[in-house]
């Protein structure tokens, strides 16, 4: 991976302190989403500190992806609010939320198959006044796809597509990156590449929320883990505590044992 460069990293001004000296960058208040009779997300108060890598784990159907989609505005909540970096996001369009400094990478690869790698990266490149060519070159370097800049995205491997999509999210220069299963279906080497990429961006000050099933990967990257179960927060804490927790093992990790 490349040496960190400041060009692609927003220098965050301090937001209102929450008392402990660490700033909360993302907070949901009593966030709820009903699909017909099913409550996918049930009154969730989820908050993330600036500069952390938070992993969201939980059984299938626990509401992890729904929670991300409520944060990005692809779904609108049945009740509750979302706050990010001093903005009340509730009711804002997705593109406007992205403008406040959030990026998202969906679960399945969503690269543009008809465009080249470089063109894909130019899709989110908003800041026409800035050094777009510089950001483009730096991002290609970060995701190790310099040699394939002019290759059609449809010719990339699965791991390369995932890296490209993370690259697209990085080009937006976000303060917070939401990743939904970024290493699903990847080989061990590809997974390690993504872990390195996330750590290097984290070193530059980016905050992450990562939904993931791969506990080895979670161990590699995360500071704290939130366990969702049946639409509610079940446990929250450092990875060692979570893995040692009997109840978590029973509802979630047990199915991997």
């Amino acid at each position: 991976m490349s040496t960190p460069q400041d060009i692609n990293v927003r220098q965050k001004p301090a937001v209102a302190a929450t008392g402990g000296g660490v700033d909360t960058i993302l907070a949901t208040k009593r966030l709820t989403k009903n699909f017909g009779g099913l409550t996918a997300v049930d009154g969730v108060d989820f908050s993330v500190d600036e500069g952390e890598i938070r992993c969201l784990i939980g059984p299938n159907g626990a509401g992890k992806s729904t929670l991300l989609e409520l944060i990005t505005g692809q779904l609108s909540p049945s009740a509750g609010d979302v706050y990010f970096d001093g903005h009340d996001l509730t009711g804002m369009d997705t593109h406007a939320r992205i403008d406040t400094g959030i990026s998202v990478k969906f679960q399945s690869p969503h690269v543009y198959e008809n465009l080249t790698v470089a063109e894909n990266l130019r899709v989110p490149l908003q800041r026409a006044d800035g050094d777009t060519d510089g950001v483009l070159a730096e991002t290609l370097d970060r995701i190790a796809l310099e040699a394939k800049a002019d290759t059609g995205a449809s010719d990339l491997s699965h791991g390369e597509k995932q890296r490209l999509e993370i690259g697209m999210a990085v080009t937006l220069d976000p303060a917070l990156m939401l990743l939904d299963e970024p290493v699903a279906g990847m080989s061990i080497e590809e997974t390690a590449d993504v872990a390195n990429l996330i750590r290097s961006l984290h070193d530059d000050g980016m905050t992450f929320v990562v939904v993931e099933h791969d506990m080895e990967f979670v161990r590699q990257i995360s500071d704290r883990v939130t366990v969702l179960n049946q639409g509610s927060i079940f446990r929250q804490g450092p990875i060692e505590e979570i893995e040692a927790d009997e109840d978590v093992r029973r509802i979630y990790l047990g199915e991997n044992a």
Binding site: H95, I98, Y112, E113, L115, V123, P124
Partner: protein, 307 residues
């Protein structure tokens, strides 16, 4: 327009030249009539059956400004602005409800076409005074061709296609527009205001329709509220023959169709030329149901699969 004064079937250098000018005339007309429709269809999956009336607004805007005393180029600018403004209003009020609903969009815009042409009839009467064609004619042997419609307009048509190609492949706007068309949800997650991209794309299509109207205002002869159909038929046929790819499709279809249209018109008159154009379209659709560019895409995919 070509005025043959000798027996057209006698083959000579002059008649080949005349045929060539006829081809250019027809090619320019089909390209310019088509681009606006092709962009809106190719990028947004909407067939705008009011396309002829969008062009007509360009014609009327130009003619009204010209008759009010404006120089012709300024009148043309007025025509383009009128069609663009109309397009933005129509997109916000009607068309945005019909994205990727091909048949519904055709019914809605067809209704709009009827309303516009009736309104033009009511407000401006059965015709406007014609505008004389600039630049005059060039004579060679027994033939003469209009410099404006056989040389200048085809040249502008080629420039418009080249400009669109650059816009959609070389600029950030173009890449965002293509991204929005391919996958709007991901585009929004990439911070693109997809609503604004749709308005902008529709506005470009409308501006091109207005430009076509403005350019043909002095080449139509009489300006009547039903002239929109002249443009719509050829544009519709060219879009269907060309397929989904906006620029290559327009270029390929205009090339093929104008060869037949020009040859038929030159030998047997414009009626036969028109018939031949429709006949070729029917045959092309039977053989290439996804249009010329659809066939080329299939062929490329098959070749890639074989590798």
């Amino acid at each position: 327009m070509i005025t043959p004064t000798a027996t057209p079937l006698s083959i000579s250098g002059y008649s080949l030249l005349a045929l060539f000018f006829q081809f250019l005339d027809s090619f320019g007309f089909i390209v310019l009539a088509t681009v606006g429709l092709a962009i809106i269809f190719g990028m947004m999956g909407v067939i705008n059956l009011a396309h002829g009336e969008f062009i007509l607004i360009g014609v009327y805007g130009t003619a009204l400004a010209y008759h009010a005393g404006a120089p012709l180029p300024l009148g043309m600018v007025a025509g383009v602005i009128a069609a663009t403004a109309f397009g933005v209003v129509v997109e916000r009020t009607i068309v945005r409800h019909f994205y990727d609903r091909l048949l519904d969009s055709m019914v809605a815009t067809w209704g709009l076409a009827l309303v516009v042409s009736q309104l033009l009839l009511i407000v401006f009467g059965s015709s406007l005074d014609s505008i004389s064609t600039p630049l005059g004619n060039v004579s060679y042997g027994p033939y003469s061709s209009s410099v404006y419609s056989s040389v200048l307009l085809p040249a502008i048509a080629v420039c418009v296609l080249a400009g669109l190609y650059a816009l959609f492949t070389r600029t950030t706007f173009g890449i965002k527009a293509r991204a929005t068309i391919e996958d709007p949800e991901t585009a929004r997650a990439m911070g693109i205001d997809t609503d604004r991209m749709y308005v902008a794309t529709f506005a470009i299509g409308s501006a091109l329709a207005g430009l076509t109207g403005a350019l043909y205002a002095p080449a139509l002869g009489s300006i009547t509220p039903n002239r929109g159909n002249t443009f719509l038929v050829e544009a519709f046929v060219a879009v269907v023959v060309g397929g989904q790819s906006v620029i290559l499709g327009t270029l390929a279809a205009s090339g093929v169709l104008s060869v037949f249209n020009a040859t038929g018109s030159f030998l047997f008159g414009t009626f036969v030329g028109q018939m031949l154009l429709l006949l070729v379209a029917i045959v092309a659709l039977r053989v290439l149901p996804d249009g010329i560019t659809g066939y080329v895409d299939d062929w490329q995919q098959r070749r890639r699969a074989e590798e």
